[in-house]
């Protein structure tokens, strides 16, 4: 199996062209906020790739991937809060505004590392990774699978949402973290920083795609597909199914965390709403629309849906939920293999033999 197949070539090529073209076209053909918007879409795309890795290849339908995304986002947000320093409303050099407001006199221990950028980078991977590892350790060992697993992943993100809503948690409660000023000393609103973040998002997406592809094209990836299609049979063949699942689950969560971390500086806010179960379910439809188990298709699906949302909410705000709801129904009924799968079916000569059952 080649690392870079046809779909991947097309997608990475397109991604490269867009990454070059969007900054050039911004201001004349595209509106001034195009870079930020595109950067946001690329983060969604990376999240979709992360979900496709577990859903498309290991058959784990996670309804809680938004939680890993949001955790990465919060880790980044905490660092950005610390960068504000004494420029906050209360001008406290040490504490973020909301802590001053709550009359806290020192930083909680879990905020200590967020002052360092290097530590933040590590935590972006570690926090979602650890949660996924612990959660997966319990879930996969107990052989929780199918809809049960989906429901408890939903419960996980719901529980985190409720927890993050509490002011006492020390993450800004309802309002979340916002009013960021700069990153590594460069203002977040400067064009250079926006360009850097956009390119970083594109690189992260490309990297994520290649990593996911490397995993799925390896021997390990073949075992994952076997688990997806016949879990018991794979177990009887002697494979430790739970170890494979746990590995890919944790990698996927870290990838989602990176996506969240890149997302925050580009949108300027993170709040507990990111943990809402509805957000996580929406990610699933991105993957389903693009094509489950196609990686590049998942990324494409995320971008298509996000673009449609931006256009439609600006144009007909009430129609968006109808459209999204219809998308869920139509894709599951008529487009089980997604856009990429449907395109593949149109090319009988290179017809893929891979079947994707539930």
């Amino acid at each position: 199996m080649r690392l870079i197949d046809r779909n991947m070539t097309v997608f990475l090529g397109g991604l490269f062209i867009l990454t070059v073209a969007i900054p050039l076209m911004q201001g004349n053909i595209l509106p001034g906020y195009a870079i930020q918007l595109a950067g946001k879409y690329l983060c969604y795309a990376l999240l979709a790739v992360a979900l496709d890795l577990v859903w498309g290849y290991a058959g784990i339908l996670s309804l809680g991937h938004g939680a890993f995304f949001a955790l990465g986002a919060y880790v980044m947000g905490m660092h950005l809060m610390r960068e504000i320093g004494a420029r906050g409303v209360y001008a406290n050099p040490e504490l973020p505004d909301f802590m001053v407001f709550l009359n806290w006199d020192s930083l909680p221990w879990y905020w200590l590392a967020s002052g360092s950028f290097a530590a933040t980078l590590a935590l972006i991977l570690l926090v979602p990774g650890c949660l996924a590892f612990v959660f997966g350790w319990f879930a996969f060992r107990a052989r929780v699978s199918g809809v049960y697993l989906s429901i408890i992943t939903q419960a996980m993100t719901y529980a985190l949402m409720l927890a993050f809503f509490r002011n006492e948690m020390g993450f800004g409660g309802n309002n979340g973290l916002t009013d960021f000023k700069d990153l590594l000393g460069v203002s977040l609103s400067s064009p250079e920083m926006r360009l850097v973040l956009f390119i970083a998002s594109a690189l992260a997406l490309a990297g994520g795609l290649l990593l996911a592809r490397a995993i799925t094209a390896s021997h390990l990836g073949r075992v994952l597909v076997a688990i997806r299609d016949a879990e018991s049979r794979t177990r009887f063949l002697g494979y430790r199914v739970e170890h494979y699942k746990l590995f890919v689950w944790t990698v996927s969560a870290m990838m989602a965390g990176v996506a969240g971390a890149l997302y925050v500086p580009q949108v300027g806010i993170v709040n507990p709403g990111e943990f809402a179960p509805a957000n996580s379910i929406e990610v699933v439809i991105w993957v389903a629309l693009g094509g489950r188990g196609t990686l590049a298709g998942a990324a494409l699906g995320a971008i298509v849906v996000a673009l449609a949302r931006t256009l439609l909410t600006g144009w007909l705000p009430d129609a968006w939920l109808y459209a999204l709801g219809a998308l869920f129904i139509l894709v599951t009924l008529y487009l089980p293999k997604g856009i990429v799968g449907a395109l593949g079916d149109l090319r009988p000569a290179r017809k893929q033999s891979k079947e994707v059952p539930a």
């Binding site: 339908l61 959660f135 319990f138 879930a139 060992r141 107990a142 052989r143 929780v144 699978s145 199918g146 809809v147 049960y148 989906s150 429901i151 408890i152 939903q154 419960a155 996980m156 719901y158 529980a159 409720l162 927890a163 809503f165 509490r166 179960p277 509805a278 379910i281 699933v284 439809i285 389903a288 009430d318 939920l321 109808y322 999204l324 709801g325 219809a326 998308l327 869920f328 129904i329 894709v331 599951t332 009924l333 089980p336 059952p357 539930a358």
Partner: protein, 526 residues
């Protein structure tokens, strides 16, 4: 003629005598020793005469005086005098025209106590009860005789109860009460007042005679309070459990029989609530007299509306996705988004007003717990729905077929059961139950497009915890989660309690991946 005159005289006489004596006593107020005057104050207060309050207030405030010119008793306010007995103005006076009625601290205290007992002789029992409560709140030994007098002629049970407690409160602080009297008073207060008596009893711990009695009384009260607290928590837990049961039970049978997670279940509940709203709107404009029947009318309508939608969803979407549970989950989520937005477009995003019928408002006192009627009815309703479903499953042909399909779909089909029809009817039944739940929830929750979203995760938890497809499991799951939630809330706060329960369920699933009461069926094979 003479007889009539005699009767009339008899009727008039007591009033005249009383009026005369009130005035006589009042006029005698400035004279004699302080002890005599204290007795007169008590007599005035217990006379029941409406003038007593103004007179005694003036006395304690130092505004009561005797006019030097004609010896009339007047109340002086801002230099102008009013006759204390007749209420007529007596012109403006200076300090030289009057002799103030002198009071010392002892008498002043006595007057204050007497003022506190004025209400004890009021006309209405409610006013007497209030006055007794005032005495109880600030007991004064000087009020004892007035209380006992009031007690001896009291006929109203409630007022009598209040007076007895007031008397006991006074006895507790009275220096000349015998230890027996005080012990009796202590027991009475502890028994009747519960936690509210703690403040009154606690000072008695330093009283050597009553120390032990006070300690036992306090311990008893604490025990009773703890019990009451547990009772309240249990009730709240059962109440929450019944709500969860209503929200989850429809979900449970659809999952059990069809192996399908219906993500639109919460929205069907919401539609049931909106049906109630519509019914009430129509009743408000066309037949206001039927308002108390609104829920009875809404129940079948809500069932039909949501069941029809459920069957349509099953026929149109779910049917094509059997054997692919995860895809069904996504498609029904799409349905839920559309239903939510449709309701938002039609009814607007804000809460809609749904009223309680009269028989659902108010509360009832049971064993010292105040239980609201709407919660009681919802609990009964949840159990009734449960019983109804049990009957359907155990006693009808459809129920038999449903159980057969749950256990072995292929075999059931072999036996000639039209599994497709069973699926559709089951889905419709589950959806209809969601509508019924919506009618009930409209009584205790905000009717808004987001109503369903608030219950969906919780009801999934109930189903997962109890075991999908098992009615008993759902019952046990709903009440367990409801009670555990309410038990954990005071310890950790509402939000954290919920988080803890979710974590608990996630861990529970490790041990029992199929819930408390696992069923054998298609859902298990997946």
């Amino acid at each position: 003629m003479r007889l009539i005159r005699l009767i009339l005289l008899c009727l008039i006489m007591p009033a005249a005598a009383l009026a005369q004596s009130f005035e006589e006593i009042a006029r005698a107020l400035p004279e004699g020793s302080y002890d005599d005057r204290a007795d007169r104050v008590s007599a005035l207060a217990s006379s029941g005469d409406p003038r007593a309050e103004a007179l005694l207030t003036a006395l304690v405030g130092g505004d009561l005086a005797v006019l030097k010119s004609d010896g009339r008793l007047v109340i002086v306010t801002d230099g102008s005098a009013t006759d204390a007995l007749s209420g007529d103005p007596a012109g403006s006076v200076t300090r030289r025209d009057v002799t103030p009625v002198r009071v010392n601290n002892n008498l002043r205290g006595h007057v204050r106590a007497a003022l506190g007992t004025l209400g004890l002789v009021a006309e209405s029992p409610a006013a007497r009860t209030r006055a007794a409560a005032q005495v109880e709140a600030a007991p004064d030994p000087a009020q004892l005789s007035a209380l006992e007098a009031a007690l001896s002629r009291e006929t109203d049970t409630k007022a009598r109860d209040a007076l007895e407690i007031a008397r006991a409160s006074v006895l507790l602080v009275a220096p000349d009460a015998t230890p027996d009297e005080r012990a009796e008073a202590l027991a009475l207060i502890a028994e009747r007042r519960g936690a509210a008596a703690q403040v009154r009893i606690r000072p008695l711990l330093s009283d050597p005679a009553l120390k032990d009695a006070a300690r036992t009384a306090l311990a008893d009260i604490e025990r009773a309070e703890a019990l009451r607290g547990w009772g309240l928590t249990l009730w709240q837990g059962l109440s929450l459990g019944s709500v969860l049961l209503l929200a989850a039970i429809g979900l449970s049978i659809t999952f059990g029989v069809c192996g399908v997670i219906n993500m639109a279940h919460g929205e069907l509940v919401m539609l049931g609530a909106y049906t109630t709203f519509m019914v009430q709107e129509v009743i408000r404009t066309h037949a206001p007299g039927l308002f108390d029947w609104s829920l009875a009318i809404a129940l079948p309508l809500a069932f039909l509306v949501t069941a029809a939608i459920g069957i349509a969803v099953e026929r149109g979407i779910v049917r094509r996705l059997y054997g692919r549970p995860l895809e069904t989950l996504l498609a029904t989520w799409g349905v839920s988004l559309i239903l939510q937005q449709a309701v938002r477009s039609i009814f607007g995003p804000n809460n809609r007003q749904v009223g309680n019928p009269s028989w659902m408002s108010g509360s009832v006192e049971v064993l010292g717990l105040s239980l609201t009627w709407n919660r009681i009815w919802i609990m009964l309703f949840a159990l009734a729905v449960f019983g109804f479903l049990m009957l359907v499953l155990r006693r009808t042909a459809l129920g038999l077929q449903m159980r057969a399909v749950t256990q072995n779909r292929a075999m059931a089909a072999e036996m000639g059961i039209r599994t497709g029809r069973v699926d559709a009817l089951t889905f419709g039944l589950g959806a209809g139950i969601a509508g019924l739940a919506g009618v009930a929830l409209s009584q205790i929750d905000n009717v808004s497009p987001n109503l369903g979203q608030g219950y969906i995760v919780d009801s999934f938890m109930v189903v997962v915890f109890g075991g999908a497809g098992s009615l008993w499991g759902t019952l046990a799951g709903a009440f367990t989660l409801g009670i555990v939630n309410k038990l954990a809330e005071p310890l950790a706060g509402a939000m954290l309690a919920k988080v803890m329960i979710l974590i608990f369920i996630i861990l529970f699933i490790q041990k029992r991946p199929r819930g408390l009461f696992p069923t054998r069926g298609r859902a298990v094979e997946g």
